[in-house]
């Protein structure tokens, strides 16, 4: 769908690494250039016309994000540098002060590094304990398995809505309902879900959400932290400086701005934020439900073809997303990626920043295909043709 909108697709490339980052449509690129060419002033200084325009555009994106994830108020939207930055702000700004010795943090082993490492450190600092939800045979999270490990000491559950290797979609709404009945906070890593499915924070009632612009057609260097308004007062800003203070006179006399501005110290990625607004408009035009359905159909098409190749071992046969992880028997994943690259096919090889996932899948590395709405059945055919012949891979991978 809509391939003509993506300049990079004019090259002879098959881009199947959307889990890493997405391509950008012309409208997003144009919006970025428009800022630098026509009104590249700083934000929050509306003393003259072009600076005022920056404020309008920048805050317009905040409104667009609010509606996109159905937040209740625009103050719940904080611009960060990416999902990693957002998760670190949530952990270091809120949970560092909230958690005490013996409290339990619940994660899964299929999380990305950025939803594990900040928690590891905070566990070390506070004496909190990390626990993992046991996964079922498909490596999925179930509410029953979560219920088994929750105790009165459990304080927070932090998990990806869609994981970046297994590609499973977690029952976030059910988990959150259960968690809130037990006074447990829910943090959601939306890096792989917000670009692909309709995420509705009011409906799911989650407490925190983190995601990145660049995986959803937007620029790199911009992310979102969503937190419920009533929790925002209790988040301590990690960065202090310009743009986030009302006044400061001495260590005991620092007055911070209201939320969300107090979390956005320093000059933000203005062009990036403004261009993210354009990306959201683009996604809205296609419709998130249409995108998800298209990707699921395309995944099914790919799986049906891969499953018939005897030397291909699919690691996540059942997954409700556009992510397929597999290995070619006896060949290192990176060699397969190099081989495919010779034919202009971009896939990812490795552990995909989810280094605990090996305990679950039983393999350290894999090849990952991650789809988006601009991928086609013809591209899948091309990929599958190249994977069919193992001798050809062995011959040409060097």
């Amino acid at each position: 769908m809509h391939r003509e909108d993506f300049p990079l697709l004019k090259q002879d490339l098959i881009y199947l690494d959307n889990g890493a980052t997405s391509l950008k449509p012309q409208s997003v690129i144009d919006k970025t250039i428009d800022y630098y060419e026509n009104y590249s002033a700083n934000a929050h200084r509306g003393d003259y016309d072009i600076s005022y325009k920056v404020d309008l555009e920048y805050e317009n994106t905040r409104d667009l994000v609010k509606d996109f994830i159905n937040a209740k108020r625009k103050e719940e939207i904080v611009f960060t540098s990416g999902t990693t930055d957002s998760l670190n702000l949530i952990v270091n700004g809120f949970f560092k002060n909230y958690l005490e010795k013996g409290d339990e943090i619940i994660l899964t082993k299929t999380e990305h590094a950025s939803n594990i490492m900040p928690w590891f450190r905070i566990a070390g600092l506070t004496g909190a304990i990390i626990k993992y939800i046991p996964l079922d045979d498909n490596h999925f999270v179930t509410l029953e398995n979560l219920q088994k490990i929750v105790t009165p000491n459990t304080k927070v559950i932090s998990l990806a809505e869609i994981t970046n290797v297994v590609g499973d979609k977690r029952p976030i709404k059910e988990i959150t309902k259960f968690a809130h009945e037990h006074d447990i906070f829910v943090v959601v890593d939306g890096a792989q879900s917000v670009p692909h499915i309709k995420v509705d924070v009011s409906d799911s009632d989650i407490d925190f959400l983190a995601f990145s612009a660049h995986k959803m057609l937007g620029p790199t260097g911009v992310g979102i932290m969503y937190a419920k308004y009533e929790l925002m007062q209790n988040i301590e800003p990690v960065n202090l400086g310009g743009g986030m203070n009302e006044s400061f006179e001495s260590p005991s006399k620092m007055v911070l701005k209201e939320v969300p501005m107090r979390f956005e110290a320093g000059t933000p990625n203005i062009a990036g934020v403004i261009a993210l607004g354009e990306a959201i408009k683009y996604l809205n035009k296609i419709g998130m439900d249409n995108i998800f359905k298209y990707e699921k159909d395309l995944r099914k098409y790919l799986i049906e073809k891969l499953i018939n190749i005897p030397h291909i071992d699919i690691l996540n046969l059942e997954a409700d997303s556009g992510i397929v992880a597999f290995n070619v028997e006896g060949i290192f994943s990176e060699d397969v990626a190099y081989y495919l690259n010779k034919y202009g096919i971009c896939v990812r090889a490795g552990s995909h920043c989810a280094k605990l996932t090996k305990d679950v899948l039983g393999v350290v590395n894999s090849i990952r295909v991650s789809l988006y709405f601009y991928n086609t059945e013809a591209e899948i055919d091309n990929l599958v043709d190249l994977l069919k012949d193992k001798d050809k891979i062995l011959k040409e991978m060097l």
Partner: protein, 144 residues
């Protein structure tokens, strides 16, 4: 070296790498070698006695180029005096970096003669050499 022959040598060492086994012997020096931009990750075990490389073994997750390069390196370094081993290593490094080198001493290492043309794979071929140099350095520090 003939291209086709080189490819065959690499594939042979990838399919049947020499001395690919874990070592639990404190006589061996252990070093890890990995590339920041790829997923190759090797442990290299080195045994030196009387200034001579008695044994090298390796274990890890690595691509065909890294695996075969390690295997070929092991084959060529075992039995060498440290200084001769260093000469081999230097020549291999030079070959990969398009500098002058002595073809006569590299033997099967010449299978990687053209690797400099693939800049993203050059580091795969060099990975075991990075590791062995680290091990030799540690050995020499210890002996001082």
């Amino acid at each position: 070296m003939d291209k086709e022959l080189g490819r065959e040598i690499i594939l042979e060492h990838f399919s049947h790498p020499l001395n690919k086994e874990e070592v639990n012997d404190s006589k061996y020096l252990k070093v890890n070698s990995n590339n920041p931009n790829c997923i190759d990750n090797l442990n290299i075990y080195l045994l030196i006695e009387d200034n001579i490389i008695k044994d090298i073994k390796f274990m890890g997750e690595a691509c065909a180029i890294s695996t075969s390069s390690t295997s070929i390196m092991i084959k060529n370094l075992i039995g060498k005096k440290i200084e001769d081993a260093k000469e081999y290593i230097n020549n291999f490094n030079h070959m990969c970096n398009e500098e002058e080198y002595d073809e006569d001493i590299l033997n099967e290492g010449l299978a990687f003669q053209d690797i400099y043309k693939q800049s993203n794979r050059k580091n795969c071929a060099l990975l075991p050499y990075k590791g062995i140099l680290k091990a030799l350095e540690e050995y020499e520090k210890k002996s001082d």
